[in-house]
């Protein structure tokens, strides 16, 4: 079973040999299927992203989305309410600020969302917005 599908087998010994293109060194040739439950779960739910995550404590958000101490110049206070999945989608895809937030502040939040990692509040929501289907 595992030998099927590789056009080399048998054909290699035939008179006309199969061509194998080696491709560029940097080209990726192995893609692993990842679980997609977050994407699909997000598509059946409304989700929200608290900024910052409650577990991060009382911190401000810098323009690049990183967390900084309150009062850091150029940083923005926590979002007054969680950003909904729909708002996050509009913000990330077309730069549209959620209601009640100004442009620079919203961009800092957008960068925060882009930096979310697994295990952080809001990550499954962010992941659910990612996968084009």
């Amino acid at each position: 079973m595992s030998d099927e599908g590789l056009d080399g087998e048998g054909a290699g010994r035939a008179s006309r040999r199969t061509v194998l293109a080696m491709g560029a060194i940097a080209a990726s040739t192995v893609v692993t299927i990842r679980p997609a439950f977050a994407q699909a779960a997000g598509s059946v739910m409304n989700c929200q992203i608290p900024i910052p995550a409650p577990e991060a404590g009382a911190q401000n958000i810098a323009a690049d989305g990183s967390l900084v101490a309150p009062g850091t110049p150029g940083s923005f206070p926590p979002a007054p309410r969680p950003i909904t999945g729909e708002e996050a989608k509009a913000l990330l895809n077309s730069g549209m600020s959620p209601p009640g937030m100004d442009g620079q502040q919203a961009q800092a939040y957008a960068n925060y969302i882009r930096r979310l990692q697994a295990g952080t509040s809001g990550f499954t929501c962010y992941a659910s917005l990612q996968m084009p289907r």
Binding site: R34, G57, G119
Partner: protein
């Protein structure tokens, strides 16, 4: 009280005889992460067809979960091969790898491994080279973990999205008892695939430590089921309970192990052991779920939350830790 019904069915008691009872049993088993264990325990029993289908799904899910968990252990082994230190599997992965009854149907989340403390830096570097990364770069957490905990801050694998907890002992350094971590490693057992597991006694000691000294009792029913299964499997060997108690004493965990054994007997075994005065409160907390799997008695839970923290670290640090948490 439906958690009680789960415990009774797991220990061989009568099965529910109507739908309400089954619905409650299944919901509570899911909430306590014991549905897979329950499904294996009742494999072949006369249950309604719908229940049999749910159990078959649960067994298949547990089996596939074990494939993924054992694979994660194998990938950790490959990543750490160059470090050349003993790598000891803990908890669910260890039970599954060793084919123990405690592993039957058990859900397995993160990969937990134990390595010698003086090799921790090399282990960390090797994992980072093999595409594990820090879960959260929070300076407080990081400093806290490194200084006080019994493990590295959790790492997650970039491609496989699975977490690894790298332990160097089985209790936080802040706990008043100091387990003999050298003994844990010296007496560990090779599995023949390049990985190791704790000795039988240490496995039970670790499960007990995890239950009573290192948590707020959340997930305690599963933890006690682990202990019950481990003892049932190991206990037939003459003198084992004496050996177990001696081993527990050596780690400074004699009373925790004794209590875990009392509780597991009370819940899953003959139930004849005399209960210490604090035990009923623990049992009450462990069984605090109704037929909709809702957590009941929040006051009890809150009490235990504080208590578990008190056991984790000396009081002055407790205050600091709570204060840092409260600011979040």
């Amino acid at each position: 009280m439906s958690a009680r019904s789960l415990v009774q069915v797991l220990s061989g008691g009568v099965l529910p005889h109507e739908a309400t009872g089954w619905n409650a049993l299944i919901a509570v088993a899911r909430a306590e992460l014991l549905l897979g264990s329950l499904a294996f325990r009742l494999e072949g029993a006369a249950v309604p067809a719908k229940v049999a289908a749910i159990f078959a799904d649960a067994r298949a899910q547990a089996d596939q979960g074990h494939v993924a968990a054992l694979w994660e252990a194998e990938m950790a082994r490959r990543a750490l091969a160059a470090v050349d230190c003993p790598v000891i599997l803990l908890k669910g992965t260890a039970y599954a790898a060793a084919g123990l009854q405690a592993g039957m149907g058990r859900s397995i989340g993160d990969l937990d491994i134990l390595v010698p403390r003086d090799r921790l830096d090399e282990v960390e570097a090797a994992l980072l080279r093999a595409d594990w990364e820090w879960v959260k770069p929070d300076p407080y957490d990081d400093a806290y973990y490194r200084r006080w905990m019994h493990e590295l801050p959790p790492l997650i694998h970039k491609a496989r999205d699975r977490m690894i907890d790298v332990h160097h002992t089985i209790l936080p350094l802040t706990a008043r008892v100091k387990p003999d971590s050298g003994g844990l490693i010296a007496d560990s057992i090779a599995l023949g695939n390049g990985l190791r597991i704790l000795s039988r006694e240490d496995m039970i000691v670790h499960a007990a430590a995890h239950l009573l000294a290192d948590g707020d009792l959340a997930g305690g029913l599963r933890n006690l089921w682990d202990i019950h299964c481990l003892r049932a499997e190991f206990g037939s060997e003459a003198g084992s309970s004496l050996r177990l108690q001696a081993r527990a004493d050596r780690h400074g965990l004699g009373s925790q192990v004794a209590r875990a054994i009392r509780l597991s007997d009370q819940l899953y075994g003959a139930g004849t052991e005399w209960l210490n005065s604090a035990d009923p409160l623990v049992v009450r907390r462990l069984l605090a779920r109704d037929g909709w799997a809702r957590e009941i008695r929040p006051a009890t839970r809150l009490g235990f939350y504080v208590r578990s923290h008190w056991l984790r670290m000396p009081p002055a640090m407790l205050a600091r830790h709570l204060w840092a948490k409260a600011r979040r």
